[in-house]
């Protein structure tokens, strides 16, 4: 890449004013000054602190840090200076605590609730902010407008006497973003953006959205919609599970609506998103409140890993482009909605930090805010086509570990345009939705589970694409060109001795070295480490534990569900087995006919509520002789029941018994049908058929059938009565309705689960096992 001319744009500043420049070494210019900074625990703040501590020995950094949970500001600062880049300066000071004591003023406080600031501050650097592009609207205003206002107010208060007159003129350095230009196009000068927005009114309205949306989320209509959605998924598991999910959905809905409100408000006024919008308002706040003091606004573009300092490739956390780079390396980013010739304006972090330090040392005119673009696009542009080539070539040479399947195939981008990518994505989403709906009706089997797992993987990918593409869509097509004459003049005015340490001319590096040798290796390194670790560690821990060395003995329960878990059967089938033998052939046919006719109704009931389904089926037992039923089970049905047992299940039950655990069978089936399994279980909880005085079944149960949440309640009660430790206990079940029961033990295992339970098990890191049940006799063969 050819080096850009040193000055591309206007040599002369409008108005003929001189730019504030530097006339000495930075360490001398800033000697004896106290620089108050926010956001020191963040990406830029951390490096800024490092730079001050290592290169400006006579400057005192004061840091405003908020308490996070139980970690005080000081504790958090100890954590910061214990990081690797501080090693040298920390050791020179004799330790983290000593370094803080000797060099750093720590002020515990929060934005916008800023505490009183020290009166001796000279410079305030505000680099705290949201890292997210799509915060909820109220949060964006709180951070970027109210927070800035509060900080400046406290700064002015600290520099004023009791009457409110300034006794000292501080220098306020505001870190904004180049993208405050919003949806403007073309050349953006280092000057305030023209707009006539009343930030106070906007802020009040933005904050008001929270109450509005919160209230709306609590209206009957909205709650009903959310409840229905939750019920579709969780009805089987019970009311409390559904309620918990409804509330979770409501909170998510509020959050999503607040984000949407922010984005829409920003777009309605010409900004890409609420982040850049509120940042732009923040700049206006700075200009207004800083009318009496020295003010500089630094606008970095996309800040990525360092070019030289503290070492090439230094980066903290994941920033803007990394998830996309990694997704591309994994072969999961098939296309990108960027214009191939649009410029992606990346700037290394150390250039931003150096620029901040240099700006701190300038003396801008009071009342005139100075603006600095720290950006690369004007003189060293990198297009999307360019970065795509760089990244592709990097991953071609250094592929990510693809595990057993080898490195992923890297997608080839042709940049078909945003519309086309959007169509591709929404078609995929529609296809996914259709597949999902079909799957919900598919019978349970190993194959549907495999399909569901594939679908879930596809869903995660689609969600990722949807999220990132909608976030970055605007940026990927921006045609902004940030003029950086102020910044360039400043870096050129650095003292020759400061040049190697503090230079921030973004035209000095070429993108091939930056992307392929510095940035990409640095952002992929943690992922590679993690991959290697995962490969070494092997599979995840399992809840299907080896019982041979289990020491819980009688403190543990092993709870098993019947239908579908240890036995392949269902209550209708059980009913027919139990009932038909005592009927004549004609009545048998009649009975089967009736059951078949009612089958659709039963299936509907089952989908709605398991308990009412069970009641409906058990109603048919009316008139059956309970004693005869029990005898029929013992003499005729036992082989039928036993031949439908899963051998693996029996082995597991027996292992639990051998380990001394109390084995429990919890089922909605009627008690007589569990008789063949009595030797395997210490406790059997089943539905008891109520009988009349003659011992004939009334068609009712003696109590409600134990399904869904009542199983969990039973378990908890039993555990408290018998000194059982549920955390050391085991539970095995196959359907989503057993989720509450599985959730209340320490070792839950999903056995040949239905898809909702499979997903829940995946989320909770429960083992999923297949207990094969292959009855030797077909379903339609009746016991004889």
């Amino acid at each position: 890449m050819t080096a850009a001319p040193a000055m591309t744009f206007a040599q002369q500043r409008p108005g003929g004013q001189d730019r504030p420049l530097l006339d000495g070494r930075l360490k001398d210019l800033l000697a004896g000054k106290k620089i108050l900074m926010t956001g020191v625990t963040g990406f830029i703040g951390e490096q800024l602190l490092w730079k001050i501590l290592t290169e400006l020995p006579d400057t005192v950094p004061a840091v405003l840090v908020r308490q996070k949970g139980s970690a005080t500001a000081r504790a958090r600062m100890v954590g910061v200076v214990k990081k690797k880049i501080f090693t040298e300066v920390r050791e020179a000071a004799g330790g983290a605590e000593e370094l803080l004591d000797a060099r750093v003023d720590i002020i515990q406080g929060d934005l916008p609730n800023v505490p009183d600031l020290p009166a001796d501050l000279d410079v305030v650097v505000h680099c705290a902010g949201d890292v997210s592009f799509d915060p909820p609207i109220n949060q964006a205003f709180t951070t970027n407008v109210i927070g800035t206002k509060a900080l400046m107010a406290k700064m002015l208060q600290a520099c004023s006497d009791d009457q409110g007159n300034l006794v000292k003129v501080p220098h306020y350095v505001h870190i904004s973003t180049a993208y405050t230009a919003g949806r403007r196009r073309g050349v953006i000068p280092e000057a305030p953006h023209a707009h006539s927005i009343d930030y106070d009114a906007e802020t009040a309205a933005g904050l008001g959205m929270r109450d509005l949306i919160e209230a709306e989320s609590r209206t009957a209509g909205q709650l009903a919609t959310l409840r229905k959605e939750a019920e579709r998924e969780h009805r089987a598991a019970g009311y409390l599970t559904t309620a918990a999910d409804t509330e979770r959905r409501r909170k998510e809905w509020v959050q999503a609506k607040l984000v949407e409100a922010g984005t829409e408000r920003a777009r309605s006024l010409g900004w890409t998103d609420v982040y850049t919008f509120t940042k732009a308002l923040g700049e206006r706040v700075v200009a207004d409140l800083g009318a009496q003091i020295k003010v500089s606004v630094i606008r970095p573009s996309i800040v990525e890993s360092s070019w030289l300092h503290p070492y090439p490739g230094w980066i903290e956390g994941f920033k803007m482009a990394e998830p996309l780079i990694l997704a591309y390396g994994r072969g999961e980013l098939p296309e990108f909605p960027a214009s191939p010739d649009a410029v992606i304006d990346i700037v290394p972090c150390d250039h931003v930090v150096n620029a901040i330090v240099a700006v701190c040392a300038t003396e801008p005119a009071v009342g005139t805010a100075e603006y600095y673009h720290v950006s690369s696009g004007a003189r060293n542009p990198l297009t999307f086509q360019g970065i795509y080539g760089q990244i592709r070539s990097y991953f071609t040479d250094h592929p990510l570990d693809g595990g057993s399947r080898g490195a992923a195939q890297l997608p080839t981008w042709v940049f078909p345009g945003a519309g086309s990518v959007e169509r591709l994505l929404s078609t995929s989403e529609r296809a996914h939705g259709m597949a999902e709906r079909m799957l919900a009706r598919a019978p349970r089997s190993n194959r549907t589970r495999t399909i569901a797992r594939d679908l879930d993987r596809a869903r995660a990918r689609l969600d990722f694409l949807r999220r990132y593409l909608s976030l970055y869509n605007e940026y990927a097509q921006s045609e902004l060109q940030f003029v950086d004459d102020n910044t360039l003049s400043l870096t050129m005015s650095l003292h020759p001795d400061d040049q190697p340490i503090f230079a921030f001319d973004t035209a000095v590096f070429d993108w091939t070295s930056y992307i392929q040798e510095v940035h990409a290796p640095s952002v992929t390194a943690p992922v590679r480490r993690l991959d290697a670790l995962r490969r070494k560690r092997g599979n995840r821990p399992t809840t299907m534990k080896d019982l041979s060395a289990n020491t819980a003995t009688d403190q543990a329960l092993a709870v098993f569900d019947l239908d579908g878990t240890i036995m392949s059967t269902n209550v209708i089938e059980q009913y027919l087995w139990a009932r038909l033998p005592e009927l004549s052939t004609a009545r048998q046919l009649g009975e089967v006919g009736q059951v078949l006719r009612r089958l659709p109704a039963y299936i509907r009931a089952e989908r709605r509520d398991r308990a009412s389904f069970l009641r409906a089926v058990y109603r048919r037992y009316r008139g059956a002789d309970l004693a005869a039923l029990e005898e029929a089970v013992d003499t005729i049905l036992t082989p039928h029941v036993l031949s439908r047992l899963s051998p693996e299940a029996v082995r597991r039950i027996r292992e639990h018994r051998a380990a001394g655990h109390t084995t429990v069978l919890i089922t909605g089936a009627v008690r007589p049908l569990t008789r063949p399994l009595r030797p395997l279980f210490d406790v059997i909880v089943a539905a008891d058929l109520a009988t009349d005085d003659d011992g004939r079944c009334t068609g009712y149960l003696t109590g409600p059938p134990l399904v869904g949440e009542s199983r969990a309640a039973w378990l908890q009660h039993y555990a408290s009565q018998h000194g059982i430790d549920l955390r050391r206990s085991f539970a095995y079940a196959d359907s989503h309705s057993d989720l509450p029961m599985l959730s209340c033990v320490g070792n839950a295992v999903a056995v040949s689960p239905d898809i909702p339970l499979m997903r829940a098990a995946g989320a909770r890191q429960w083992s999923v096992v297949e207990w094969r049940i292959k009855p030797t006799t077909p379903r339609w063969v009746m016991p004889r």
């Binding site: 013992d634 036992t638 082989p639 036993l642 031949s643 439908r644 047992l645 899963s646 051998p647 029996v650 082995r651 027996r654 063949p676 030797p679 395997l680 292959k774 030797t776 077909p778 004889r784």
Partner: protein, 513 residues
């Protein structure tokens, strides 16, 4: 006069030959020079079964006629073989039913009131009502079952009667049988080394008694333990033994042609064969398995003998050898055997890997004078898919035997020391054996001990088409084709071994000259 068995040498005109391969068949083109051993054709059946039964009962060997042994007020017990013999099962009417009807007629005539029927299952699974009815006929079943006079033996019953101590250990048998004034034992003879008084000990004995015969020491004693137990029974009980000898028509219509020599198949046989292959290929595995495990054979009765157990046994053995013996020249380097899906222990059930191994290897070592058809250090190639599938109803102890025992060791001695007692007394297995239709916990051990001889005799045992993991678990090797199997064994038996294919079933007893 039926044609005797013979040995065919494969030449270039020999068609592909049928090989049993679990729930299916293969047509295998054997290497030139392979010896193929065909069983003799079926002997001539008895002309009139009723007459033959009457003749046997009324003029028995070494015993007074049955009618003279019956008197009013006596306790008569009739024990009979369970559903495992013969395999495949006999078409109705089962010969057991006919014999027992004849016995009951004589008992009624003699005024005997106290009659009980016991199915001599030993440690096999309890026979179902349907199976009892199938064996005994509807009339006998109806007369005795409802009153509880027709029962399955229970080897885990605590109240069995000790008859005395033999060399192999104490012999305890069913109390009703022991307390009877006469025990009539009805045996279906298909096997030269079964039957006799020993079968009464193993069919009606306690678990310990059965283990003394079929356990490791019993198997290693080469029949001495069985003979000893048989002697104790014969000495202690008044026994009248009846044995019906079957021919080797194990394929019923329409599959009878499978027992014929391939080049003698009629057009109709060939069409049936093509249709059968197509149907098997199309049907799901479960259906295929049911077809095989539920099929009935086309047996005829070739002789009925009655009287003292030892004498009756000698007569039956003579007939069976006549039916099953094939002479062959010398021992081969490599033996080939197709293992059918049906085994005595997987009727209406699943042939699990252990059953398949036992079925194949026990057939390989059936010989007239203790000389197997494969030389020591030779190799065996068998066909069976050996899927890892178990019947939870019939084979619960096999599941654990496969999962826990065989993963620890395959050595019979260690298995006996470490595991047998635990399985024998496991309450869950015992519960299932006594109340449901499960084989006893020790059953897999007995089968395992019986294949130990083949394992030590052969240098390599390779299963063609077997599930690799289960073949490995059992200590065997798996190959995908016969050619691969021969390649595997070539390290031990060389590149041009003598190969001998035992065209079974039907059962072939080797007489190696």
């Amino acid at each position: 006069m039926a044609r005797p068995g013979f040995v065919l040498e494969v030449d270039d005109r020999t068609p592909p030959l049928v090989v049993h391969d679990g729930p299916g068949y293969r047509l295998e083109k054997f290497p030139l020079g392979t010896e193929v051993v065909y069983a003799p054709e079926a002997l001539a059946p008895v002309d009139d079964q009723a007459e033959a039964i009457a003749a046997a009962l009324d003029s028995p060997t070494d015993s007074a006629p049955l009618s003279e042994l019956l008197r009013p007020g006596m306790k008569l017990t009739i024990a009979f073989d369970d559903i495992t013999t013969p395999t495949p099962r006999m078409r109705r009417p089962d010969i057991r039913g006919r014999i027992i009807e004849a016995v009951l007629t004589r008992a009624a005539r003699a005024g005997v009131d106290d009659v009980a029927l016991i199915c001599a299952i030993g440690v096999n699974r309890r026979n179902t009502d349907a199976e009892l009815q199938q064996m005994l006929g509807e009339r006998v079943f109806r007369s005795f079952f409802a009153d509880g006079l027709l029962t399955n033996h229970d080897a885990d019953d605590d109240n069995l009667s000790v008859l005395g101590g033999g060399e192999a250990g104490e012999v305890a048998v069913n109390t009703r049988a022991a307390a009877s004034d006469l025990l009539v034992f009805v045996h279906v003879a298909t096997n030269a080394d079964g039957g006799g008084a020993a079968a009464m000990a193993t069919g009606l004995g306690s678990t310990a008694t059965v283990c003394s015969v079929h356990g490791l020491q019993g198997v290693l004693s080469d029949g001495a333990a069985a003979a000893s137990a048989g002697r104790v029974v014969a000495a202690a009980l008044p026994v009248f033994s009846i044995e019906a000898v079957l021919d080797n028509h194990i394929f019923g219509q329409p599959l009878e042609f499978l027992g014929k020599r391939e080049w003698e198949w009629s057009i109709r046989d060939q069409v049936t064969w093509l249709g059968l292959r197509r149907a098997l290929a199309l049907s799901p595995s479960k259906t295929r398995r049911r077809l095989f495990t539920a099929a009935a054979g086309g047996y005829s009765v070739v002789g009925i003998n009655a009287g003292a157990p030892a004498a009756v046994r000698a007569q039956s053995t003579k007939l069976l050898l006549q039916q099953q013996l094939v002479q062959m020249q010398g021992q081969a380097d490599v033996g080939v055997i197709g293992v059918p899906e049906q085994t005595p222990y997987s009727i209406d059930s699943v042939t699990n890997p252990i059953l398949a191994a036992w079925r194949g290897l026990s057939a390989a070592f059936s010989s007239a004078d203790g000389v197997p058809f494969v030389r020591e250090g030779g190799a065996l190639v068998l066909y069976h898919p050996m899927p890892v599938e178990f019947s939870p109803l019939h084979h619960p102890s096999y599941v654990d035997f496969f999962a826990d025992v065989l993963t620890a060791t395959i050595d019979p001695l260690q298995i006996q020391e470490k595991f047998e007692a635990k399985f024998a007394t496991d309450p869950w297995y015992s519960h299932l054996y006594r109340t449901s239709n499960a084989f006893h916990g020790v059953h897999p051990f007995h089968l395992w001990y019986r294949i130990a001889a083949a394992r030590t005799h052969c240098s390599d045992i390779v299963w063609v088409g077997a599930d690799r993991s289960s073949a490995e678990r059992l200590g065997f090797r798996a190959a995908s084709t016969l050619a691969d199997a021969l390649e595997i064994v070539s390290a031990r038996v060389g590149r041009s071994p003598t190969i001998r294919y035992l065209h079974n079933p039907p059962q072939i007893i080797a007489e190696v000259r």
